[in-house]
């Protein structure tokens, strides 16, 4: 079936990065993200022949990825903090200062994201990081757009709370380290 293989190659090329990114933010570990990404595309490859095209390919892939992530998280509890692994992934094209800033932000976001529940985390990743529309996000989650909006509002409120607490801790940590240096 050369047509099927060719079609899969096109889909894989077009959506690999987004799927990997979503999985990496969801599980918080580079190693696990790679394994899950491979599993997702393997599932997609096997079931591509039966894909009816009722939805967009990207939505279909995200549904597979979300289900795989959920089953992975259900098997493995609690989620291991993979901050350091993911920080290695930052782009090397930027300046060293930019890389450090991005790593700080990334670390904060990833730590906060892992404290959200799976639905809220998926919504934040799709809407705020990948730029999905509310409608598209609702299709992936198989829920209403209203639910997406409500859950996003709650997720952002929760993130704000988490990040505020982290910033206070960070300030305290900075002061403490300066005191140690001055000694």
């Amino acid at each position: 079936m050369p047509d099927l293989a060719e079609r899969f190659r096109e889909i894989y090329t077009a959506h690999f990065r987004d799927i990997y990114s979503y999985i990496a933010y969801s599980v918080g570990s580079q190693t696990e993200a790679e394994d899950i990404t491979q599993e997702v595309f393997l599932k997609a490859y096997r079931s591509l022949a039966s894909f009816r095209g009722d939805s967009e390919v990207r939505t279909w892939l995200f549904v597979i990825a979300r289900n795989t992530v959920r089953s992975h998280l259900a098997r493995k509890k609690p989620i291991s903090g993979g901050e350091e692994e993911l920080l290695k992934i930052a782009s090397s094209e930027d300046s060293p200062e930019q890389i450090v800033t991005d790593r700080e932000r990334l670390g904060l976001i990833q730590k906060a994201l892992l404290q959200l529940n799976e639905t809220q985390r998926t919504i934040v990743i799709l809407r705020n990081i990948h730029g999905y529309s509310t409608k598209e996000t609702a299709r992936v989650l198989k829920c209403t757009e209203t639910k997406v909006k409500v859950e996003l509002f709650r997720a952002l409120r929760k993130l704000r709370k988490i990040l505020s607490a982290d910033s206070a801790a960070a300030v305290e940590g900075t002061v403490a380290s300066e005191e140690v240096r001055s000694l």
């Binding site: 990065r17 990997y20 595309f41 990334l106 952002l156 993130l159 990040l163 910033s167």
Partner: protein, 346 residues
């Protein structure tokens, strides 16, 4: 520094985050592993689809609709064959019903000239049976034959040709009479002949026919079938609506009963109904109308409301008779027990 007081800080922070990039070479590694898998075969679609819906589901919906329609038809008409057979039997005159298979039940029914003519009020079935016996006895005795002719008689009354009774041995001079074949009027038949369903009366030239010694002819099956096409009145009897019953202070159980229907049927026969059909089943005054629980049983066939009673005859006349003050329908309606609707049959 984290801006703790800024409410848009989180949204700004999230928007500054970009999708994570995979490590170099990961994409090719995974692809190489996946394509080592055997190429998945094309899975035949389990169901044909039409506009996104399974054809099997559409077929199931259609089958359900057919079953539903069949159920509705059954509640109103019963089984096709059973009721059809009963209608045919019930619609036939009693003499034809009484005949055994193989007997002369065709269009041409021979009645001896001296045979019993059906007098008003006489039981036509007995008369017909007796006539058949006599016909068998004296068939070779050169009696006068009366036939139901399908051809227009010489009198030129072509419109009523099918329903005409033509004496075969009439004198030529008799043909000068206009409409020499006796025109049969179903509407006036049973009332003058004991109320039997298939009994005809001679509407015109009755005296001429009797003078000539021509017996009044009982209709055969074909004529009985034509009866169903005659005009009449369709009376639908339903339980009174709950609102009307509440308004009248009636209980919900106070609904139409089989006894009410049987009284109405008797009243219809008394009001000179040519024929009566209840829920598609033709009955005569001799048929048993009983009750089994809340269901009406006519000659062994169980029926349930609403009762659609079709009555042969002049619609206005019948309606006036059954709506007369003090009639069964009138009293039931006034007691908020039933709702009645009338519809003329044309």
């Amino acid at each position: 520094m984290i801006q703790r007081e800024n409410p848009d800080y989180v949204a700004g922070l999230l928007s500054s985050i970009k999708p994570l990039e995979p490590r170099p070479g990961l994409k090719e590694e995974i692809y190489a592993r996946i394509v080592q898998e055997p190429v998945p075969a094309e899975v035949p679609k389990r169901f044909l689809r039409m506009n996104g819906r399974s054809v099997a589901a559409i077929a199931a919906s259609f089958a359900g609709a057919v079953l539903l329609a069949g159920g509705v038809y059954y509640t109103q008409h019963g089984f096709f064959g059973k009721v059809g057979f009963r209608q045919e039997i019930a619609g036939m005159p009693t003499d034809v019903r009484g005949m055994e298979p193989g007997s002369d039940s065709g269009m041409q029914t021979k009645v001896p000239s001296g045979g019993p003519s059906v007098a008003p009020g006489q039981d036509s079935s007995k008369a017909a049976a007796e006539g058949n016996r006599q016909a068998n006895r004296s068939e070779t005795e050169g009696t006068k034959n009366v036939a139901v002719s399908q051809t227009p008689d010489s009198g030129g009354n072509r419109e009523n040709a099918i329903m005409s009774v033509k004496p075969q041995n009439r004198e030529d001079t008799d043909t000068n009479n206009s409409g020499s074949g006796q025109n049969l009027s179903p509407a006036s038949g049973p009332a003058q002949n004991g109320g039997d369903t298939g009994t005809f009366a001679v509407a015109e030239k009755r005296d001429d026919a009797s003078e000539m010694g021509t017996a009044v002819k009982e209709p055969d099956a074909a004529q009985a079938g034509l009866l169903a096409l005659e005009k009449g009145l369709k009376v639908t009897l339903r339980d009174a609506s709950s609102v009307r019953r509440q308004f009248a202070g009636k209980e919900a159980v106070d609904a139409i009963t089989p006894k009410d229907v049987s009284l109405i049927i008797k009243e219809l026969f008394a009001a000179n109904a040519a024929w009566v059909r209840v829920n598609g089943m033709t009955i005569n005054s001799q048929d048993s109308v009983t009750a089994s629980g809340n269901r009406l049983v006519v000659s062994g066939i169980s029926m349930s409301p609403p009762y659609v009673v079709e009555v042969g005859g002049d619609p206005a006349q019948i309606r006036q008779a059954i709506q007369e003050k003090g009639s069964v329908i009138d009293s039931l309606w006034k007691s908020s027990k039933i709702e009645v609707s009338f519809e003329p049959i044309r």
